[in-house]
């Protein structure tokens, strides 16, 4: 007997095993659902109580790790962030993400996502030695942070590629995730990697294949807006080609701190001989003077 606030929902799950050569099919399971249960909770219930052979990927169960992307009732979504009752449907259909090969059931092979992501060199590129031999923190204003912050929230879930109509037809297209990641670093005031990344981005299967369908932005569970990043990237690349880009030196490191002595605070007692020697070797004496 179900409690008052429980209802039954049918989970229609895509079943396929790339290893056994069988044809894909759907299998149905009836799941008792309560308010607050997510699609991932439903899958966990099935695996633990009804069928231990279903395969899905998950980890954080809180929209952080990007593991549980799947097509839920026709839309790419994170299973752990999708409330079953919010779907307002008696049937929850779960398929693997589109535009990726399937490993098993709803587990996609995200290699293409990772390959394209690494291809755009998603890290700060500096022409100086600061990254290898850091001296101090970089200087970055809140405005400079704003220029890329939104695009830094990507969790590499791959939903945007599953939604993108260009990825569906062009297997070589870099895709919204990688292009947004490229812009995230190009827009970062600490970075000077435009020249290193442009040969990957400014190509027939790079940024120019985007027709601004905007499906990536609609799908993104983190509010990254990859479609916006791609249009800003197009602008940056055209300005570079027309030699109209404002060439800005990458953010410098913060100047050394030189605390000014406050007159209202009494001077510290004279250091011991050993301390004086130590401070001298660290250059503290010079900075104070």
């Amino acid at each position: 007997m179900l409690a008052e606030d429980q209802k039954k929902v049918v989970f229609r799950i895509f079943r396929f095993n790339s290893g056994d050569g069988g044809a894909p099919r759907f299998q149905e399971y009836t799941v008792p659902v309560q308010k607050g249960m997510t699609v991932l909770d439903g899958l966990v219930y099935i695996k633990e109580n009804l069928d231990g052979t279903i395969a899905y990927r998950s980890s954080c169960r809180m929209g952080i790790c990007g593991s549980c992307g799947m097509i839920i009732n026709g839309f790419p979504q994170l299973a752990c962030q999708t409330q079953i009752l919010h779907l307002e449907s008696q049937v929850v259909e779960v398929r693997p993400l589109s535009n990726y090969p399937v490993i098993k059931d709803v587990v996609p092979d995200l290699s293409s996502l990772m390959r394209n992501h690494t291809a755009v060199r998603p890290y700060i590129i500096r022409l100086d030695d600061e990254k290898e031999r850091p001296t101090r923190e970089y200087l970055q204003s809140p405005q400079e942070l704003e220029a890329y912050l939104q695009f830094a929230y990507c969790i590499k879930c791959g939903l945007c590629l599953a939604a993108c109509p260009t990825v569906a037809t062009d297997a070589s297209f870099l895709g919204p995730q990688a292009l947004a990641a490229a812009y995230r670093y190009i827009a970062d005031s600490r970075d000077s990697g435009m020249e290193a990344r442009a040969p990957i981005l400014d190509t027939p299967h790079g940024v120019w294949r985007c027709h601004f369908a905007g499906a990536c932005t609609e799908a993104c569970p983190k509010g990254v807006d990859p479609a916006l990043a791609i249009q800003l990237l197009k602008r940056a690349l055209v300005l570079r080609t027309l030699r109209l880009a404002r060439v800005q030196a990458p953010a410098p490191v913060a100047p050394p701190l030189a605390p000014a002595p406050r007159p209202d605070i009494p001077k510290a007692p004279e250091p011991t001989v050993a301390l004086v020697r130590e401070q001298k070797s660290e250059g503290v004496e010079e900075r104070r003077s």
């Binding site: 062009d170 297997a171 400014d202 190509t203 120019w208 294949r209 197009k234 055209v238 570079r240 080609t241």
Partner: protein, 120 residues
């Protein structure tokens, strides 16, 4: 070669098309509106006006410019669509080459017909 060069040219062609189409709409179809603004071009669609334009070298040059920009923009767009379903560098070069030749051929033929019409 940077793809951004060809893309920017394609967008520039679209801008030229918008300008020329605005001119066309303004002169040929919005004479009443221009009249209100104090610009009287006369009866631009009278037979004599059409014949006069058909001998005007400025009109001929504008036609050829329109032909060039529309051809470039349209064929570049078609190339984009075809490259989307091409995953092989050799095919990409072949498609680009064939479209380039088709564009040149269409431009030469179109220019020949236009010049012949205006001067013949």
């Amino acid at each position: 070669m940077r793809e951004s060069i060809w893309w920017t040219v394609s967008i520039a062609c679209a801008v030229v098309m918008v300008l020329l189409l605005s001119l066309h709409m303004g002169i040929m179809h919005l004479a009443g509106l221009l009249n209100v603004l104090g610009l009287n071009l006369g009866d631009v669609r009278a037979f004599s006006a059409v014949v006069a334009r058909g001998k005007n070298p400025v009109q001929m040059v504008v036609y050829v410019i329109f032909l060039a920009v529309a051809l470039y923009h349209g064929l570049y767009g078609l190339r984009g669509i075809l490259l989307e379903v091409t995953q092989n560098r050799r095919w990409e070069v072949t498609i680009t080459g064939l479209l380039f030749l088709a564009g040149i051929a269409a431009f030469v033929y179109g220019t020949y017909v236009t010049v012949k019409t205006f001067t013949g």
